[in-house]
Structure formats: structure tokens, C-alpha cells
């Protein structure tokens, strides 16, 4: 009964979206939620499996990140497995919690940024100022990466955090 009512709700959305000019394609699929608990840190992923062979994978926790669209199940498991490995490794660092907090803050900033972009008329000089600050932050992160030793790569998967 629930499935029937849900499918009727999807029909309603479809009609409204079509009237907005959208082409709506419905694909039957299975949504998978994957949870890991690493030393108290919850890692959560979601991916969607459909018969067309596309897997839309994203990390939900500790901070959201669209990982990538992959074409087979092995790819999904490989990406999740590497991601979990990286987190296991990163958690050995004393700064891991700070990095996670910063990543969560960046996610929040993106939401505020999008709200600003879509809902406000911002003067040109302010747009320029924001852009320069973002570039400066990106540059700063690149500089920090350059002076730091790489502890995780394809060749060095067993590297340890300092």
C-alpha cells in the first residue's frame, strides 16, 4: 500500500515538473545506505543502483561530498573502501577533529553562499572581494599541502599520519 501511495506522489511531482518544462525520466532503482563507525566517528555513504548500470555515490557523514558516478558495483566498493581507509588513517592525527569541523563549516558556507547568490543582489565590488578571498583560501590550502608530507597515496596506502 505504501509503495502504491508513493508512486502516486511521484506522479504528482512529475506532472508539476512537466508543467515547468522538465523532461522527467523515472528509473527503478535501489538506494543503499552504508554506515561505518570509526573510533566514534560515523561515516555514512549512499549510493543508488539501477539496471542501467550507473551508481551515484555520495558521502553523507561526517560531511557531505559527492564522490562520483561509477559504472560498476566493484567501483563503488573500491571508492568506499579507499575513503574509509583514508579516514582511518586521518583519525590517527591529533588534528582530525579540527579538519572535520572545518569541512563541516565549508559545507555550511556553501549553503550560505548559494543563498546569497540566488536570493540577493550583491554589488560587483563585493562579488570581487568574495572571489579573491576564496582564491586566497584555496591558495593557502595548496601552500600548506606543498610544505606537508603526503601520507596517503595509491602507492603508499599504508602510510601513517603524524
Amino acid at each position: 500500500m505504501r509503495n502504491i501511495i508513493n508512486s502516486a506522489e511521484v506522479s504528482q511531482h512529475t506532472i508539476k515538473l512537466q508543467q515547468l518544462g522538465a523532461k522527467v525520466q523515472l528509473v527503478n532503482s535501489t538506494l543503499c545506505y552504508v554506515n561505518f563507525s570509526l573510533e566514534g566517528l560515523e561515516l555514512q555513504y549512499a549510493y543508488n543502483v539501477n539496471y542501467k548500470g550507473n551508481y551515484f555515490l555520495e558521502r553523507i557523514k561526517p560531511y557531505p561530498l559527492a564522490l562520483q558516478e561509477v559504472s560498476d558495483e566493484k567501483g563503488v566498493v573500491k571508492i568506499i573502501s579507499e575513503d574509509v581507509d583514508k579516514f582511518k588513517n586521518a583519525l590517527q592525527s591529533n588534528h582530525s577533529q579540527s579538519f572535520i569541523s572545518m569541512a563541516q563549516q565549508i559545507s555550511r558556507i556553501f549553503t550560505v553562499f548559494e543563498d546569497t547568490f540566488l536570493n540577493y543582489n550583491i554589488p560587483f565590488e563585493k562579488v570581487e572581494k568574495m572571489y579573491k578571498k576564496i582564491l586566497a583560501l584555496e591558495f593557502e590550502i595548496d601552500m600548506i599541502r606543498e610544505i606537508s608530507s603526503e601520507i596517503y597515496s595509491e602507492e603508499n596506502k599504508d602510510g601513517k599520519s603524524e
Binding site: 500500500m1 502516486a8 506522479s11 504528482q12 512537466q18 508543467q19 522527467v24 527503478n28 539496471y51
Partner: protein, 424 residues
Amino acid sequence: MELYHVVTAIGIFIIIYGVIISEKIHRTTIAVFGAVMLLLFKIITQEQAIDTIDFNTIGLLIGMMIIVSILRRTGAFEYLAIKAAKSVKGDPWKIIAVFSIFTALASALLDNVTTILLIVPITLVITDTLELSPIPFVLPLILASNIGGTATLIGDPPNIMIGSAAGLGFVDFIVNLAPIIVVILAVVILIFRMIYKKQLTITEDKRAKIMAMDENLAIRDAVLLKKGLIVLALTMVGFVLHQYLNFESASVALIGAGLLLLISKVEVEDVLLEIEWPTIFFFTALFILVGGLEAVGVIDFLAQGLLNLTGGDLFFMVILILWGSAIASAFLDNIPFVATMIPLIKSMAAMSAISVTPLWWALALGACLGGNGTLVGASANVIASGMLEKHGQKLGFMSYLKTGFPIMLVSIVLSTIYLIVFYL
């Protein structure tokens, strides 16, 4: 047959029926459990159980579900609904009237639940656009779907079962039931006109929004639409001719389904996923459960009792079956009720010299129209109220009862007059 078998079969049947009514466990789960209990307690053998399943009913249901699943992908229903709403210039009362007629017609050709699934979403889009409560729109559609479904062999599952068991075809149902259904629908629309005509008003800007809707945007696949309509039309021709061509109605539906699956090129797994398998298994299990009662002689015993009660008087039996099945179907699932009544009527036919054909029409009218009596009387009612609830609108048991039950009584009174005048 030993007393142990009789008592066990009756016990299993009553317990399963009780649990189905209580809705504590999914009806399919408990019906399948009851059916396998009959095997476990050796009330019937596996071969006997399979023999009790009416594969004509099952095949007809599956065939029509496949055709509808493919047709739903075309957007034809939404196209027609938007065009209809625009043709009456967005007038709320006229939308209710046109949609009710449209729903009754669709429900005569498709399953009631399917019709509700197709018509209610577009109705909700329209009521959102008009910024009106959807309840005055959806309530008449629920009633119209149950009324329209009564008119044909394929319109409502009880009719499918009755047609298959009694050897009554598509044309038999149209000729015998459609006339009174047209009258009932007209009366019901007039009743709703009295209730809603002056209540529902809209501003010009809302009307303009309806007129701005583009029905062409609703068509998702024009090629599939053409193929679907051709196969649907051929299938309907097949239903009209099936008795003359010596085809079972299930064969017609399955030939149509097979042909449409082949030419539509729709992914077969997607189509089969949309078949209401719980309903199919529910029917299968019910046939076995009732078959168990037949095997131990309970059905014959009840038939004899009914004959004794009515003294074999056809008039009394027709009235009893019509009103009994209407009241029962208003509160109970009409599918298990009809599944039980069918062997009962067949037994009465075997035991007496009376012509039972009017009894089949009384059962069809009572069981199908009775579903309008309460919110739990038919699957279409439950699903429509669930859709309303998801939309943030509550259609409660009592608020439905205030309108649904009197309208059900009116329809049964009209059916009584019809049966008396033309069959008794």
C-alpha cells in the same frame, strides 16, 4: 470427511477472516499463512489446492496490470485530465462532474485502484493550482471509481471472479449492469452538484492558471501512446468478442499484455515490478482458503441453510444477497466476501431448480457498490485517503461515512428497483 477436518477448516477460515478484518497483519501475509495451514493440517492436498485457484481471474488481473503499467508511462491520462479541466474553463464544480464521468469510464475498463492512482495525482495538482481543498474533488472520484467499476467484467475484482465462476462474459456484464450504473452515476453527480455547486468558487487568476497548463507537456512518449492505445482498443474488442471466439477473458488480457510488452520495448523487469503481486497472492490464497471450506462440505451446508431460510424464493434471495453483500462490503474487504459467496451460489444452483443468474447480478452490484459505504469498504477508498493524507489533507472515517454511506444506500435502492423490474 472427518469432524476434525471440518472443525479445523472452519477454525482456520474464521481466524484468518478475523485477522484480515482487523488489519493487524497484511491481508496477503495472513491469507497465505491460512492457505498453507490447510496443507499442514491435511485439510486439502497440494493438488487440490492448485485446482481451487481460478487461473482465469489471476490471468485477467495480471494481463490488465501489465497493459496498465505500460499505458501509465505514456502520460495519456494526465493529458486527458488537463484537457478536460481546460474544456470547462477551470470551473471547480464542472471539473468535479467531468472528472467523475471520466473516472467512472476509466474504472469500467481498468481496475478501480489503478484509476484512482491515475486520476488523483492530476486532481491534486489542479486543486493546488486552484488553491482549493482537494477533498470535495477526490471524494466524488472515489465513489465514481467504485460505481464505474461495477459496470464491466474487468472493472472490479469481484466482477472478474463472478464472471469467471459463472461463465458470464464482458458483454453480459455491460448489457446487464451498465444501464443501472449509468443511472446511479447520474444520480450521484446530481447529489454532489447539490452539495458543492455553490461552495466552490475561484478567482479569475486561478482560472487563468488552469488555462495556462499545457496538456501536451504531459505526453511522455507519443509513440508508446499510439502503440498502447491500439493494443488497448484491440483488447477491448477481444473482451467484447471473447465468448463468441471461445476465449477465456484471461486469454484476451494476456494476449494484449504479451503483444504490448513485445511492441512497446519497455523494460520487462520494470513492468513486472509494477504488478501488484500482493494482490495476486491474496487472490490465490483466498481461492485455496475457500476451496478448503468447499472440500469439507461447509459451503454446501451453508447453501442448504440459505435455501431453507429463503424457502427457495428467488425474490427473497436476490434482496438478501444484494443488501447483505452491500452492507458486508461496506465494512469488509469485498474480495474474500465474494470469494466465499461464489461457491455458495453455485451450490444453491446445484441443489435447486432456480435460475441463479439474477443472484450473480445482485452479488456484483452489492459487493462493488457496497464498497462506497465506508472509507475501508474498498481498496480505492483507502488508497485515495492515503494519498490525501500524504498531501496534508485528512479524509477521516466519519467524514467519509457522512457522504459515502447515504450515497451507497441510494445506489443499492436504485439497484433493488432495477433488479425487481427487470429480473424478478
